[in-house]
Chain length 623, copies 2
């Protein structure tokens, strides 16, 4: 029997209330049918998340900056190994709890439309082609290559046109033209669905042109299933079904919302709305057939994950795979490849014997390694520690200021003067500044609640600007390391610093990876997956979903650092051989990775290759 047939046979034995109960993310057990309770909610955006100790890879945006789809697929394989290993252990308790299952609500393949969006660092950046390729690689890595079973279910999110503002997301209507929909908001979903067979898609909180994404036949049945050809199950974002009556005001009651969602093809509910399905049924709002259809889809998925079989090869994955040395090494490798060298006047790589001042609130900050939707690392290397471990000279450390608040009582405890003196007493300064995942993030999750998790602008916080100027005034060469999940206005840094490095949120091995770059043990190869603008003033209104004037594809101004920008310590020379082939040569003296980008005029191909000094290679692209 196929998984679908087994699902149909199992669901056929259920009562209607039992079927309804299985459409909730916290599906209860049905002991008489040997169905254990199952909590569908799990996360693995850049590592097994929220379930304790795990390898914490760089945040998604940092992995995107590596521009290396095969490497990302390796990472996703490591992640799904850890998710599965944890599940295998957790299920010995009989059932699994939240964040312990096999159905991961990752990746986030929304387009990073505007740098102010707090959740932008969960994405692969602003380009639909890049996002699609990386998303598909991630899905393949998660789902595994067993011919019969899925290792882990991937869930593409959030469908569709979801990218802030966070503070109004529950009732927001994204007004999107057909052109923008087809060329910007849909392509990554389309590509992933066509090539990587994702098990699931998550509906967005917002409406799309007036249609609530979790309660719309147009969005789910017509756009997602019919037009894009999606055949898996759809899950609502958490609480999104209740939003239909509470914030979108499309329905008058939770029962109506639940019915509308099920009737639209939203199979699984994260939240509590589907507890009203019985009421909806009694009011004649939803049919048993609709509920059965969703239940069958969900049980087909559970069967495909091997949950009811004993011959699933992934059951053999043991706990030692979690945080294994191999995963740690892989983590450091993708962290290295995701660091982007934005400017270098020749100071980098450092020789190693310099007297170094490491200054700034992000230097020894563990949280910036982790991003959001993260696990807990069992080992981590802050930027400071990485530099200390790599440096042969004296390293002076000064925190210098609070991340954003000039008035916190602790301010005197890391005086500005200490930073000034550290610079004065050193040969070179490494300034580690930027944001934290608490300053840009999801609604209700980030501290800056006044703006729902989004950024007001692209500026560094005032205390950091003051620290920057005070240190700069000492006249020492400055390497500016920016840690953020989004574009920051680095004009002043570009103008004044010897080198500028973008780290994003680089994962638990971030400090070691940064040190590898700074001291030349690795050649920088990251590229920007987003445009670094000079100011938010150059951008349209944040809530305007038209792509006009946004991202490298439609921005008409002059960015500080364009999409795809990223320097190396060596010289790579590209030569177009014919329409589909490019010869790339490492003409410098240092081995390194290089990504060839093809634009037509938007990104239409990218391949990353490792070339020793003097080596060359010919890369073939799809026509």
């Amino acid at each position: 029997m196929t998984f679908e047939e087994r699902a149909r046979a199992l669901v056929a034995q259920m009562t209607l209330p039992e079927k309804m109960s299985q459409l909730r993310y916290d599906a209860p057990a049905i002991p008489r049918l040997n169905v254990p309770a199952y909590n569908w909610w799990n996360e693995c955006l850049h590592g097994a998340a929220r379930a304790g100790t795990a390898t914490v890879f760089p945040q998604a945006i940092a992995m995107a900056a590596a521009f290396n789809a095969p490497l990302l697929e390796e990472v996703a394989t490591a992640i799904s190994d850890e998710v599965r290993a944890k599940y295998n252990r957790y299920k010995t308790f009989g059932e699994t709890e939240i964040y312990q299952g096999l159905t991961c609500w990752s990746p986030n393949i929304n387009i990073f439309r505007d740098p102010r969006w707090g959740r932008g660092h969960e994405t692969y950046g602003e380009d639909p082609f890049l996002t699609g390729r990386l998303g598909a690689a991630f899905v393949r890595g998660l789902q595994g290559d067993d011919p019969k079973y899925r290792k882990v279910d991937a869930t593409l999110k959030h469908f569709c046109a979801h990218s802030g503002p966070e503070s109004i997301r529950h009732g927001f209507d994204a007004v999107v033209s057909e052109e923008d929909l087809q060329s910007t908001y849909l392509p990554a979903f389309r590509y992933c669905i066509e090539t990587s067979d994702p098990s699931a898609v998550m509906g967005a909180y917002n409406s799309l042109n007036g249609e609530p994404c979790c309660g719309s036949v147009k969005v789910i049945e017509e756009l997602l299933r019919d037009e894009l050809g999606f055949t898996g199950y759809v899950v609502s974002d958490c609480g999104a079904v209740r939003d239909i009556d509470q914030y979108h005001h499309k329905t008058a009651s939770p029962a109506e919302s639940a019915a509308l969602a099920v009737n639209s093809g939203c199979d699984l509910n994260c939240g509590s709305a589907y507890t009203w399905l019985q009421a909806a049924y009694e009011q004649g709002l939803v049919s048993e057939e609709a509920i059965t259809r969703s239940a069958e889809r969900l049980f087909a998925a559970r069967f495909r994950l091997g949950m009811f079989d004993d011959d699933c090869p992934y059951d053999a994955l043991g706990i030692d795979v979690v945080c294994s040395p191999a995963h740690r090494a892989l983590n450091r490798e993708i962290a290295r490849q995701g660091i982007v060298l934005l400017k270098n006047d020749g100071l980098l790589p450092l020789k190693g014997g310099e007297r170094i001042a490491v200054i700034g609130p992000n230097a020894d900050e563990m949280s910036v390694l982790l991003g959001n939707y993260n696990g807990i690392p069992d080992q981590y290397t802050t930027l400071l520690r990485g530099i200390q471990e790599a440096s042969a000279g004296r390293v002076l450390y000064a925190k210098g200021c609070h991340h954003y608040d000039p008035k916190v009582p602790e301010r005197a405890q890391f005086p500005l003067r200490e930073a000034i003196l550290a610079a004065r007493d050193s040969d070179v300064v490494i300034l580690c500044m930027g944001l934290t995942p608490q300053m840009e993030g999801e609604e209700g999750d980030a501290y800056n609640g006044c703006n729902g998790g989004d950024k007001f602008d692209l500026e560094l916080p005032v205390p950091q600007k003051e620290l920057f100027e005070a240190v700069l005034a000492e006249g020492k060469p400055v390497i500016f390391v920016n840690v953020s999940g989004s574009a920051i206005n680095l004009c002043r840094q570009d103008e004044t610093c010897a080198a500028v490095v973008q780290c994003f949120y680089p994962g638990a091995e971030g400090g070691g990876a940064l040190a590898d770059i700074l001291f030349g043990k690795a050649n920088p190869s990251g590229r920007l997956p987003v445009t670094f603008y000079r100011s938010a003033d150059d951008l349209p209104d944040f809530a305007d979903y038209s792509m006009k004037g946004r991202t490298y594809r439609f921005f008409e101004g002059k960015p500080l650092y364009p999409f795809g920008h990223g320097l190396s310590y060596t010289d790579f020379i590209e030569e177009q051989l014919d329409g589909n082939r490019v010869r790339v040569a490492n003409a410098g003296s240092m081995d390194g990775w290089h990504t060839v980008l093809r634009f037509a005029p938007h990104l239409a191909g990218f391949q990353k290759v490792f070339l020793k000094a003097g080596e060359s290679a010919v890369l073939s692209f799809e026509p």
Copy 2:
């Protein structure tokens, strides 16, 4: 001219308002007399504190557990080198700011009268003899041994009879019998004053038998100066002078409070009360002579610190002494000596190849290394990291629970189940639990504001108790590592665990030091400087300052671990040779430190000696 003569000559040139201004902790400059602004407030309880990066030695209570006065003096020498080096750099700005000066408001030699006191971890424990000897060693180390200049001013605090409750400290009246005053609350102050010549004493917030400690002729002039022979300057605790009218209701206005304090001999005011001195003078409440006397004392101290000379040898201390490798090594040594092995059934030391589960909220928690009144380390080793670095086997880590809150949203992110599984998958479990400096601390400083920073009882928080039982049920041998600044009820741990270790707050090198002990690279030699009771129910009311029923000296019940308790991996045999001499022999197979304690019946002598296996030594004690 002596420093006192120079002070008199300088103060004689000041106007009355200028003199008044110099009695404030934030003394302004008097440019016409070449007197720079000076902020008297600095802290160095266990390292240069609140002025940025510094070597963070173990919290005071942990250093007390080392029972090693010469080692503590070495540590204090390292601390004052760092304080002075920072001052030397900061003063290049013309004047120094808060936490950048040479006048440190350390050590805290109050008696740790009751384990519920939040600030108890700032002290050297519950015994007056131990506190006096360690306090004097610390003062000597801070103040240096130059025949002319002071390196740093030490300040004994808080005079007198100050040990909670935090929540009512500003108006609290400690009712103390003459017997308790003389045998418990005064001896450490008396000994330090008689033997180590501390520059300063800080008055307490509370009243002593109805006399506000910062505004009492009886307390300051009669008790401190006349009876104890103190000749230095007295500083108020911060805001304590205003407390005299606001909370003690001994005066009717801030002007009256300021006058009373100055007239009582409180020379320096932390807070704002002395801005009312002009008003007090105009009301005839305070004389110019009284103000002059205090100003002269303060300037004598500044002269003695070399602030107005250019031949002070301590001016040569440079910034490289801060966080030097030598200080790091010293830090690890005292951290090792301050760890107390409370129970060992033979499991310790570990062999090194075990499969280890490290579990608990204090395992990878940086803040517990630091205690309070701390600097920022430039490197630190958490307990987990120390164990990982020392272990040859696999180390599984599970945080297991939040420190105290069972309801925080992140709870699911480190599931209890993970801890259970880690135990199940390992040979031995190291449980790292206890409190944090945010759970027991100073009023307004600790999170648990509901109790002003004090503990309600001696219990581990409920989530940790649940975690403990769940892990214990797995049946693996458990090493219980308790991290706290105070006594905890460890009866259940003593009953069920293979080993119990008390770490206190062990400083930036704490994880390495713990690993040295656990894996037998160092022999445990710490002793408890406080009694570990079985329950707070065995104790008198917290606010009762009578010593009856408190500390090993007067407690009549059976403690779990008595004052002075601490095991070794080797056997030390003590033999009383005559009244004053003890032969001590290392009769075991491992080298180690051993402290001989002499009780008569209370602690009357202690000496620590390092003996190789098979070695012996004869120690002479004062009669």
